[in-house]
Symmetry: C2
DNA sequence: TTCTAAGTTAAGAATGATTCTACTTAACGG
DNA sequence: CCGTTAAGTAGAATCATTCTTAACTTAGAA
């Protein structure tokens, strides 16, 4: 946490209580929250916070490489403080998003030569299915 | 085309001129158009068409397995008449979306056992990069 | 053919996530 | 402390998509 704060100070951004609250909320968070999830959570401690602040902070974090947008749900954006390359499993029933850290670069690399003219810089895999809870629910 | 028309007739939907125009526009289309792209194109022949009809028809096609939504662009949905499993290359510069038909099931299958409780039913890979045009443009 | 029921279209209103605006407030280097 | 200036806030605006409702086709029955 301290290291994270230092990082932002160096990049010249002001560390307001609201920003720190959002950074703390996201730190180590693997739930892939939406802007609304973040807003609701921060509102408990900062009742006057506005969506503008949430979105502005997310934008700031994005440009400082502290956050990535996860484009999985066409209805709204999800945010992920884990900026390392990784993939996701998505439950088609309840929307749960789970991280997958397996490295597929070898298996995928071969193909990247086959697409005419493209120069690739990254990839992301979505695995669709049903999570444990939703599977056992249907069985019963 | 004839086969496609038969397919929808059988499923009990009425094939109106607007619907046929949309189906024709999509048939074999690999450009991954948005609802607005479709609307603009159909409007040339049917000036009174509305967005409601475009969205209704897309919904109808989706439920009849004649179309899939492509969740790649967080700003708007793209539609793909190719319902076979395939993947996409996305140009980060111009937004071009190109199909990739390589089969990765073997390489990905191994992992699917490792995610606790999940039962998987499909996957989709996004390859990010720059297309040929955008790459040569930057070079010059 | 003509009639009907059911499904479809079109215009515009409604929704909801995200962005913008105008103004107030507070962070922080000096 | 102070001044500069970035950041916070409330609410309006935007824009893709969905909803509502009345008028209109379609296809089958008579
Ligand atoms: Mn993740
Ligand atoms: Mn495609
Ligand atoms: Zn689930
Ligand atoms: Zn390009």
């Amino acid at each position: 946490m301290e290291a994270i704060i230092e990082k932002y100070k160096k990049s010249g951004v002001k560390l307001t209580p609201q920003r720190l609250a959002i950074i703390k909320f996201l730190e180590g968070n693997t739930s892939h929250p939406t802007a609304d999830d973040i807003f609701k959570s921060i509102k408990k401690d900062y009742p006057t916070i506005s969506f503008a602040t949430v979105y502005n902070t997310l934008e700031m974090l994005k440009t400082n490489n502290g956050l990535v947008e996860v484009t999985i749900n066409p209805e709204r954006k999800h945010y992920d403080p884990n900026v390392e390359t990784h993939h996701h499993a998505i439950c088609k029933s309840c929307g749960l998003i789970v991280d997958i850290f397996t490295d597929f670069s070898k298996a995928l690399g071969v193909v990247e030569d086959e697409v005419s003219g493209f120069v690739f810089s990254g990839n992301h895999i979505n695995f669709y299915g049903r999570c444990g809870d939703c599977t056992s629910e249907r069985d019963s």
